[in-house]
Symmetry: C2
Subunit: 339 residues, 2 copies
């Protein structure tokens, strides 16, 4: 059973993944992986994966061909679905069992590597599956948050198998970074009685120099204080705290703008590694006093981070990031790439 | 002039380094660098660097051979020493000029790559120089903190020139990560009236299973909630908030334990890339009410982070780290390596 351990000074939880424990000579995994034609995620090779949790499937039976998007349990989960949290002390330290969910969303039946190369309708189906899984995981009272994210390319933490997929991790605590964002936007709301993201959208639309795309109710901008060169955030222009409430037509618009941004990165930056992360409101917020205003003060969005620079000691030690490309230059560069 | 820009939601400052601005095709800098025999940091090649800021020099004149440790201004500084902060708003955003200091500490006159391979006395001299520079930079009222850190090896952000050196960055705001640590240890102190680091040291000495070395008044442990496999913290066993107050004999003991830990990492993990960062109390704390108790509640230490795993989207997006090696296993492994 993996453990969740809390740093007693900073309050950050760390997953100590005992089952994944590696010997010191096993860390360089940059080569290897299944040979050509042996990808376990391709249609027709369903027998090579664990039984599916869910699928968007126009035809065919469970664990057979005929699906568009397929959700699998991770074969090397960071957190385990079975058991109780058993929060406990260990001297001055805090520990709980590594309870959670870790699912893999296979985004296409075809052996395509980058979600940017999928048709818009297919990307929209991926979003529909994220929503279905988020809604299902919310029913489990042990979970406080689900992080939906993608690691594309080796330096972004991507795997060796070049088949487009993303991950869902349900956690028993609201992650520190998410909590900071929720707290920050609530504080802004309490003073201004306005959503900070709505204000950012307004200012960006007025100033225009950090806008990458303004399309069908979504805005893609390079954030004013971008941590990484060519970082892009996609936000719905209409206020909404919850990604799950994005309906069919807006899922298609979101797919269109995400595909455009990712293609601009692919063309302009020579197919870089990247991460994207969906930031949405935590589960069961209406029941928690602390998060009660969240429908007004939080605003869901997607953060896309190309991984083209190295993160060094200074960043780790200080929380200061150094962005070597001014956001205005990055936005102009991306704006001008035709896709 | 670089800018410091504040993320309006999280409150994190980012250095937008305009002078370092790169074109998108200039990011892969993994090859190149000066040829053999052309290292600008070697003794005898002082004319190839900017004029030194300071040096530990038993003989010879400024900018000539005869030094043990030499401090240079960075040729590509993240922050600039000249000018005023000029804090200002930009719509809802906060900006200030990128004022600060960025210095390079050349740790040996010889062309040696890893500080682990320097003699103990030489490493002790490096600490003396850190202290001298910290004390000097504290006099500049614009600076709130100095981060002393090392990036060793390419994946830790190290440069192409294989000559052992570290960096000092003076910042006009207390970095977010440092502030979290100060706040966390103060909260513990307010409740318990004890230093959290002293309590950690006590518990680690009792439990023993995360101790790597216990030597001459310093303790090296793998932290209970380590973020990275084989992460090691070195702490003085006697309470002290300020690295600068570490005297000559303790600098030698510190050099001895740091060298031992770094050699264990080098031997056990096949010369991994790593970062180390000195965590010490901020400047002029006695004048600031908020930090007044810091002499009691904070405890300086060094954090060493081998960089043998990749940090992926999950970590960036959540602040959750996944450590694939249990700290107890890592400590046992490092303890058993003879150096």
């Amino acid at each position: 059973m993996p453990q969740l351990r809390k740093d007693p000074i900073i309050g950050r939880w760390v997953i100590v993944s005992t089952e994944r424990s590696k010997k010191p000579d096993q860390f360089d995994g940059s080569s290897g992986g299944p040979a050509e034609g042996e990808c376990p995620f391709c249609e027709g090779r369903e027998a090579h994966t664990p039984s599916e949790i869910s699928a968007l499937r126009p035809r065919g039976e469970k664990n057979k061909p005929g699906w568009n998007v397929r959700v699998l349990p991770s074969v090397a989960p960071f957190l385990r679905i079975e058991g109780e949290l058993d929060r406990r002390g260990h001297g001055l330290y805090d520990v709980m069992n590594g309870i959670g969910a870790h699912e893999i969303v296979v985004e296409t039946p075809q052996h395509i590597d980058n979600i940017a190369d999928l048709p818009v309708e297919q990307i929209s189906d991926v979003f529909a599956v994220y929503q279905e899984r988020l809604a299902d995981l919310e029913k489990d009272q042990r979970f406080k948050y689900v992080l939906a994210f993608k690691n594309y390319g080796w330096s972004a933490g991507g795997g060796r198998t070049k088949h487009s997929r993303s991950q869902l991790i349900a956690t028993p605590t609201t992650p520190k970074r998410v909590k900071e964002e929720l707290t920050g936007s609530r504080q802004y709301y309490e003073y201004h009685e306005r959503c900070i993201f709505c204000d950012i959208i307004k200012q960006e639309l007025e100033q225009k120099d950090r806008v990458v795309l303004d399309l069908d109710g979504f805005l893609a901008v390079v954030p004013f204080a971008a941590r990484f060169p060519f970082e892009v955030w996609i936000m719905p222009k209409k206020h909404d705290c919850d990604f799950i409430s994005c309906d069919q037509s807006h899922r298609v618009y979101l797919a269109k703008i995400l595909k455009s941004v990712l293609l601009k990165l692919k063309i302009g930056l020579n197919n870089p590694a990247y991460n994207y992360i969906i930031h949405t409101a935590p589960f069961r917020r209406e029941k928690h006093g602390y998060w009660k205003t969240i429908n007004q003060d939080y605003h869901w969005h997607i953060e896309i981070m190309p991984r083209i620079t190295r993160v060094a000691g200074f960043e780790w030690g200080s929380g200061f990031y150094i962005c070597p490309v001014p956001p205005e230059d990055a936005a102009k560069f991306l704006r001008e790439i035709e896709v």
